[in-house]
């Protein structure tokens, strides 16, 4: 079994390790595109990436619920982060994916939720000093959903805090900050 899947070459492994030591502990983030922006979430929360299956809308559900899908016999609610982040909604194309994400149980997890994204990009490994606090930059009501900004080689990635989105407390629109709830109303 191990014969087929080769380990990374020893040299490369060495380089990775060296860099990790140089820059301190690193966290892996999965980057994706929504509207024209690049976002990322800790990859440990992402259990699976799916192509867009047929979506069934749920009448009278909170407005950021796109619908439900079936993942191997389990019904999963798909949520649209664009509506939470007040992004433009472009029609989805072939690159659209659903990230199956789940928070650790101690952070209010337990339910696996699908997150709609326009396109999945790649994995970033950010050291602590490459992430800066979002409050300095945004200062808006969106800061609740943004854990920070990651910078690497001139690229800028918005790191999303999934806790207020997937956690139990914010299941319903009512728990949103008033400004957001007002902005989303009528949806």
């Amino acid at each position: 079994m191990t014969q087929r899947r080769a380990d990374p070459p020893a040299a490369r492994r060495g380089a990775l390790a060296r860099r990790a030591v140089e820059r301190g502990a690193r966290t892996e983030f999965l980057a994706f595109r929504m509207a024209e922006e690049i976002y990322a979430v800790p990859i440990s929360y992402v259990k699976e990436i799916l192509k867009l299956p047929p979506l069934t809308e749920v009448p009278r559900a909170p407005s950021d619920v796109m619908g439900v899908i079936s993942v191997r016999g389990r019904i999963v609610t798909v949520r649209d982060l664009r509506r939470r982040l007040r992004l433009a909604e472009t029609p989805s194309n072939r690159r659209a994916r659903i990230l199956l994400a789940e928070l650790p149980v101690d952070q209010g997890g337990g339910e696996r939720v699908g997150l709609f994204v326009d396109e999945v990009l790649h994995v970033y490994r950010f050291a602590e000093d490459e992430v800066e606090s979002a409050t300095n930059i945004l200062g808006s009501e969106l800061a609740e959903y943004v854990a920070g900004i990651g910078r690497q080689q001139g690229e800028m990635v918005i790191l999303i805090d999934l806790r207020p989105i997937l956690g139990g407390a914010t299941d319903k629109g009512a728990a949103l900050p008033p400004a957001l709830a007002a902005a989303k109303g009528g949806g």
Binding site: P54, R60, G73, E111
Partner: protein, 731 residues
């Protein structure tokens, strides 16, 4: 650790249920004997004793101190009973039944992590102390009258001696069976003999005869008490190497002497008809299932396999206990396979459509059909494993009837039929509360006091019939009493007092609509709440609980003659039949259990009363609900609704609602999956299901829909006083 505790709780639960059944059997035996000496099956008393003994061991193992203490004292009492040191009286049974209740209270507390209930246990222990004053031992000693080997008498255990005395006192004949067993197969040989002897009498003891044995075989003397004649026994038990002789009764009451070498004469016999100690009527059904989800079998099977043998920890039964979640998991896999199967079916059809691949297509088709068949079998198999007999819940109800009727001093005869009817384990669990409420109502409101019954020319003993049977994919349970019936006038008066209906409206109500009021929360016609019911809680709980299971309750009543409540339930929650409908291009599943009929919708028949649409169905008013409007579903390209629409009439309890849909796709068996936590606040759907092609369809929660449209005011249902609850965002 937690798993072990759960395991303990479920095992203890089973044992307590078994104990309860034994007690009911004893109760029935006493009633049969009414007044005379109770001839209860010693095996049942033994069984109860063993149950309590096991509970004692288990609970001390798990450090449940009070349960262990209680079991210890109960064990003493039951030991006295089985050894004949005290008699089984209704009073003693009261205490024992109370013990079952206390055990249940303890288990509930244990499951929810609360401390053990102290007060109940103390009270019960006090009651136990009062009952266990032992009565004097047997008055005569008939043993001396029989030609019995003193060696044998000397080694009888206290229990065996008691059984021997008891049998002789009742004039049962005594026989000695000398049987030869191969050492290699003695276990099975002996079990076989016991099993064959059981219908004819009771084996008191067995001992090696001390003769006739050799290196490969041993000869046993088996002492059998039986009312059969020697000839019958000789034919029934005949086997190679088996010799049956009566134990002679002596004329004089000399003490036992040397064993006589041969038979001396006819055994002492009375003129009683040849009947073995009667097996008490068991409420539980015959158990034929191999795998036993509830884990009912173990103890019981063991008991019958080894009558009167001591306690054993060896499980003889061929059963395993399975967590129902594992079965759900298996069911999910089957549902996945079903989807694979339908995909395969489509490919098969495509291949068959290609002339150059005809042969391959035929082969694929054959394989697909075989897969289809096996998958169906598998699904059926898993469903079957989930099924348990309703007898489980009926047993509990029998206990309730006994308790309440004694409290109220009403004689009630509970007639149970169809206890073997099987339903999904989850449904059985949820059924006991609603049925209990219905029975309580029947006893409290239904069955009249003795004097009133006499005046009305009814027998003193009231009858409550608990009837279960299967009807297609449904199980019907009826609770019927021969009591006073429901007074419609009084129901109406109460409804008017509560402002639920005006006198004018009241005149137009049909009997079944009037009876429907009793299912409203807080509705009671009885002045002054009684201990049991009449506080107005109960029937609405019944309705809600049954509704949650996808079932309906109906009530029929005739004043002075009686009341019949009919509960109709789906057989299983795992797979249900649903009607798939289309609304604005979306597919929804309506559980067939709630669907009464589907008919063409005639827009011309619709009248609007205060913004509410109603139509007429065979002379009855039918409120309507346009699902597209309720769900806020836009039609593709803003097209108008099709000209031809359908109304699916759903019924929940006594309520009817016509759901207007675009088209009907047909009936389909579906597996309902729960919606995620995110969607808990969304009303109107009980879950989702896969409809094939990876497509998910939402399952409409019919009771919730009816509730949403018709509640809160029942009167508003008829008069359209309530604004239509359509549209609007879910909370």
């Amino acid at each position: 650790m937690i798993d072990q505790r759960d395991e303990f709780i479920s095992e203890a639960q089973e044992i307590v249920e078994g104990l309860s059944r034994d007690l009911l059997a004893l109760d029935a035996a006493i009633k049969r004997a009414s007044g005379g000496h109770a001839e209860s099956d010693p095996e049942v008393v033994n069984d109860a004793f063993r149950a309590v003994h096991t509970l004692k061991g288990l609970s001390s193992l798990f450090g449940v101190a009070r349960m262990s203490t209680l079991s210890h004292h109960l064990e003493d009492l039951l030991d006295d009973l089985r050894l004949g040191r005290s008699e089984i009286t209704p009073k003693v049974l009261d205490v024992l039944f109370r013990a079952v209740d206390v055990y249940n209270i303890m288990l509930v507390a244990l499951r929810s992590g609360e401390p053990e209930p102290a007060r109940e246990v103390e009270e019960l222990l006090a009651a136990l102390g009062a009952t266990t004053s032992r009565e004097g031992g047997p008055s005569q000693n008939p043993l001396g009258d029989y030609d019995l080997d003193p060696g044998l008498l000397g080694v009888l255990t206290e229990y065996e001696e008691h059984r021997l005395r008891a049998n002789l006192q009742q004039g049962v004949g005594l026989f000695k069976i000398r049987a030869r067993f191969e050492l290699a197969t003695i276990d099975t040989g002996l079990d076989d003999l016991k099993a064959r002897a059981k219908p004819h009498g009771e084996i008191i003891t067995y001992l090696p005869s001390g003769e006739g044995g050799d290196a490969e075989a041993i000869e046993l003397d088996v002492l059998l008490a039986s009312r059969q004649t020697l000839d019958v026994l000789r034919t029934e038990l005949a086997a190679p190497g088996l010799q049956i002789d009566p134990v002679a009764r002596r004329g004089a009451r000399a003490l036992v002497s040397e064993p006589p070498p041969t038979v001396l004469g006819e055994p002492a016999r009375l003129t009683t008809p040849p009947s073995a100690p009667q097996e008490p009527a068991r409420l539980a059904s015959p158990r034929t299932r191999e795998v036993d989800v509830l884990g009912e079998g173990g103890r019981e099977d063991e008991a019958s396999a080894e009558p009167a043998a001591g306690l054993t920890i060896r499980g003889v039964a061929q059963t395993v206990r399975v967590d129902i979640r594992k079965l759900d998991h298996l069911m999910n896999i089957v549902a996945e396979l079903a989807i694979v199967r339908s995909a395969l079916g489509r490919i098969t059809d495509r291949v068959r459509g290609m002339p150059e691949l005809r042969e391959l297509g035929t082969e694929l088709h054959r394989l697909h059909r075989s897969l289809d068949r096996h998958l169906g079998d598998m699904q059926g198999g898993i469903l079957e494993v989930r099924m348990v007999p309703l007898g489980q819940v009926f047993d509990k109800l029998a206990r309730v009837v006994r308790q309440i009727s004694r409290e109220h001093d009403k004689d009630i005869n509970l007639v149970i039929t169809g206890a073997e009817t099987e339903v999904d384990k989850l449904i059985v669990e949820e059924l006991s509360d609603p049925l209990m409420h219905m029975i309580r109502n029947a006893i409290d409101h239904g069955i009249e006091p003795r004097e009133v019954r006499r005046e009305r020319g009814k027998p003193d003993t009231g009858t409550i019939a608990l009837n279960a049977y299967q009807k297609g994919n449904h199980v019907v349970i009826e609770v019927q009493d021969d009591g006073a019936g429901i007074d419609e006038e009084r129901v109406l008066l109460t409804a008017q007092k509560r402002g639920l209906v005006t006198p004018e409206e009241a005149r137009g109500l049909l009997p079944r609509e009037i009876l429907g009021f009793i299912f409203l929360p807080g509705f009671s016609t009885k002045d002054g709440a009684s201990e049991l019911s009449g506080r107005g809680v109960g029937m609405d709980v019944v309705k809600t609980n049954i509704g949650r299971l996808g079932g309906v309750v109906d009530v029929q009543s005739e004043l002075g003659i009686g009341t019949k409540m009919t509960v109709t339930l789906p057989i299983t929650l795992a797979i249900i039949s649903a009607l798939v409908v289309v609304v604005a291009g979306r597919r929804y599943a309506l559980p067939l259990a709630s669907v009464l009929e589907a008919l063409m919708f005639d827009p011309a028949s619709v009248r609007t009363i205060e913004s509410r649409e109603i139509t007429n169905l065979r002379g009855q008013t039918l409120p309507l609900c346009r699902l597209d409007a309720l769900f806020g579903l836009p039609r593709p390209d803003g097209a108008p609704p099709p000209v031809r629409q359908f109304a699916v009439v759903i019924g929940v309890g006594n309520h009817r609602l016509g759901c207007v849909v675009d088209s009907l796709i047909g009936q389909q068996d579906i597996v309902i999956k729960p919606l995620g936590r995110t969607l808990h606040g969304v009303r109107g759907f009980s879950g989702a299901t896969e409809l094939g092609d990876q497509n998910v369809g939402l399952v409409i929660d019919a009771p919730a829909l009816v509730e949403e449209i018709l509640a809160p005011s029942e009167a508003g249902r008829l008069m359209g006083q309530r604004r239509l609850g359509a549209g609007g965002e879910a909370s």
